[in-house]
Symmetry: C2
Subunit: 475 residues, 2 copies
């Protein structure tokens, strides 16, 4: 870790108590109990459509469990300067607890009684458990919102340093398991809760038809903590009213993450959406590696290194591939969602703390030629049945938009641009991994690839393109 000194004021190496090795037998892995039933990670193998998982490092594999605490999370940004919370070898497993940045929308249901979450959201007149929230200045000299200015909002667990990872390599992340984090408050035993904020950055915000306009509305959803019930239900909603944070700043809108909502003054409408069962799709909105272009990068806009892609398909059984941009890759996960629709229209999903177990497999640059990962320069998703490429309005906005990229990206996005990028990436994927001509790739895209709206609320808007594996299964 000493080669990654921290320049960030509120970060210190995670204490041993927050990271612990997990005992498991080699046999457990071989039997697939950790790997799960999915045929995963097929792209790193020499043959394009190999059914076997890519080989991992032989020898002893380790499994670490990283608790989510004020010491193991970074809030609202990616940074190549962050000290890792754990260092792993290729093939190792890591369980990362992740916490939603919306937990304080209802502290009773999402914070209280959970020591890890309490440590993250701790905020009294003198101190915050995690002071920096966002990539902005610590002295709040831009907007006066608070340290980090909320320029980036997601509580991210990590980073995980992968030994030997260097720019040009590909990090394969296998999502082996995703579980809801049970509510720590005995009053809600066996339940889990999430928050959906219809906020000022939502696509709907300037289009409201009912009064008062505009308004922000938060809906609290209940999720079954056992995972047996495959749907969520709404508990209540309330209109955001100005909230005074413990430092005395007033937040007229949802402009800074983790502001505790004082429900003594809100009007809660119970029984909303009473006939609706929302299918759950547990996944991680933010997952990725640290970008190289800047020291502090807002966690909101997704980019070539992943981050806030907000694709509900990034759940259990899925595999993500990321281009490594900095030494050690610095993998982090956050923004856990119980469910989300394509577009994430109102600004958020059901934001709900989840715990994920991942296997991290490093593909070194010199092993890539001849594989499907050889020229991958964007985040790629593989599920049991599909490949999904993620297009953004700007494929690498930090490089494309220059020094002011992190502010300008918020005014320049369109779905049209994201569609163009998804088209270019899918064409590249088909031409490189299936050896198609451009004409073959374009015809196939028109007749068999589905383009959907991933999100229109993350600064750098997203369109994904879905290719069914079965198209080439007879090849």
């Amino acid at each position: 870790m000493s080669d990654e000194p921290s320049s960030l004021s509120n970060d210190s190496p995670a204490p041993a108590a927050d990271v612990e090795p997990v005992a498991f037998s080699r046999r457990e892995i071989l039997q697939g109990s950790l790997i799960g039933a999915a045929a995963i990670g097929t792209l790193g193998a020499p043959a394009v459509a190999a059914a076997q998982a890519a080989p991992v490092a032989r020898g002893t594999l380790s499994h670490y469990h990283v608790r989510a605490t004020d010491k193991t999370v970074h809030w609202g940004y990616f940074s190549k300067k962050l000290p890792p919370v754990v260092t792993v070898a290729s093939g190792d497993f890591v369980t990362l607890e992740t916490v939603t940045h919306h937990a304080n929308d209802d502290a009773e249901r999402m914070v209280q009684g959970d020591p890890g979450v309490e440590s993250i959201f701790y905020w009294d007149k003198k101190r915050k458990g995690v002071d920096r929230r966002g990539a902005g200045p610590m002295d709040a000299s831009v907007f006066g919102r608070g340290a980090g200015e909320g320029m980036g909002v997601h509580v991210c667990t990590g980073p995980v340093f992968i030994k030997g990872a260097e720019p040009g390599d590909i990090l394969e992340v296998r999502i082996l398991d995703v579980k809801p984090r049970p509510c720590g408050n005995p009053a809600f035993k066996g339940k889990t809760f999430g928050s959906n904020a219809a906020a000022w950055w939502g696509f709907h915000y300037k289009e409201l038809i009912e009064e008062p306009k505009p308004r922000e509305v938060i809906t609290i959803y209940e999720v079954d903590a056992t995972g047996e019930r495959d749907w969520a239900k709404a508990v209540y909603n309330f209109r955001w009213i100005p909230q005074t944070d413990p430092f005395g700043k007033v937040h007229k809108t949802i402009d800074y993450p983790g502001v505790p909502v004082n429900h003594a003054y809100t009007k809660r409408n119970f029984g909303v959406l009473k006939n609706a069962r929302v299918p759950i799709r547990p996944h991680f909105g933010v997952m990725g590696v640290a970008p190289a272009e800047a020291d502090m990068v807002d966690s909101i806009p997704p980019s070539y290194t992943g981050g806030n892609i907000d694709d509900y398909r990034v759940g259990k059984g899925a595999v993500m591939y990321y281009p490594v941009a900095v030494p050690g890759a610095l993998f982090s996960v956050g923004d856990p969602h119980a469910s989300q629709g394509d577009s994430e229209l109102c600004g958020t999903a059901i934001e709900c703390s989840l715990t994920g177990t991942f296997q991290l497999v490093l593909h070194k640059k010199n092993t890539l030629p001849g594989t499907a990962l050889a020229t991958l320069n964007f985040p790629l998703l593989e599920t049991q049945t599909e490949y999904v490429v993620h297009g953004f309005s700007f494929a690498n906005y930090l490089a494309e938009l220059g020094p002011k990229a992190q502010s300008e990206i918020y005014g320049k996005s369109s779905v049209d641009l994201a569609l163009r990028d998804a088209f270019r990436k899918m064409r590249h994927f088909l031409m490189t991994t299936q050896s198609l001509t451009e004409d073959e790739a374009i015809s196939l895209m028109s007749v068999a690839v589905d383009f959907g709206v991933t999100q229109v609320v993350d600064g750098n808007w997203g369109v994904h393109a879905i290719l069914k594996k079965s198209i080439f299964s007879a090849g």
Copy 2:
């Protein structure tokens, strides 16, 4: 039919030989052999989530079969002035043969030996089987391409006049069956073919990376005519080269529908996409009723009356609901597709002649209050598991863009606008059919509704929003 006189030069009432009643028993319907296994048409019933189909007119139901010939199709336009090819009562069945306007991309495989298709595509030095192709002037005074100027390209079968239909009513169209049209050429017995044109109006056209740029490429696909094989395969592709039509006009690009391609001069590349099996999704790209706003309406841009929606979900088992805009509704179907991906990126699908069987159910205006159809003013799709609303860059471009709408629509569309329209329509659908507040509807859209790119090649671009019925099934 006398109340719908034709002002269109090349149309005359269809001869009896092209339309015939089909014998079937009442029992056949009750047993569901024509209706199929799907639970269809639930929205016209008084209860929102009624499981039963809406009642149809009692008494004798009729079933008509409309052959596709030069007398039963209109090419490239909708028109409230068209004489109907058949008049039906609510509840009646109609089988409509539909023919792809791309059949002449390979006449050997898609025209020859099929008398109906031959009559449509007939074109010698003196005469075309169907002269008008498009809503443009007959004297080709705008572009010099040909009669109708190709301002609209789809061969549409119909219109079907529904007795008693008036503006303000809703027409429910149940798609009971969709079958490929077998190749009429004995050399290709048992097969069916389709054409995919990567054309100048495609989203990819200005983005090509391989030379020569730009270029148009047509790929011919083979589909199993028996319907037993659920995938299509490419046969060959060729680059479009200038084609001289039988009247002597040269078409440097694909600028007029039905121009016969002379394969003596093309270079056909057989064996393209040889490892790819394209899943088939037989559906109708164009299906809808005549708009009220203009006498001649280009068939390319979709609108509130349906038309060229190009959603692959408009296939067997699906139900479409359209607002009736003119007396008799004047329902037509065309642009048959063997398969298409969401976005129809390169400009077309696998354009492949299909035959559909439909049941047409009229919901009179005075029966709508209290039903889910009460305020429907856009084309709505219902499948066994989903409701799909169709958003366009302009919900009713003919009304919104004024007298020059039919040309201006081609320069004004964006996916962003279509997404906004889909959002507005889904909000309306949820608020009216599920009695949700705006806040409830917006939250649900963000966490459970999927927005996808329907098409970006039809002038008026489309985004659809998918709502799972299961969300409300416990209500």
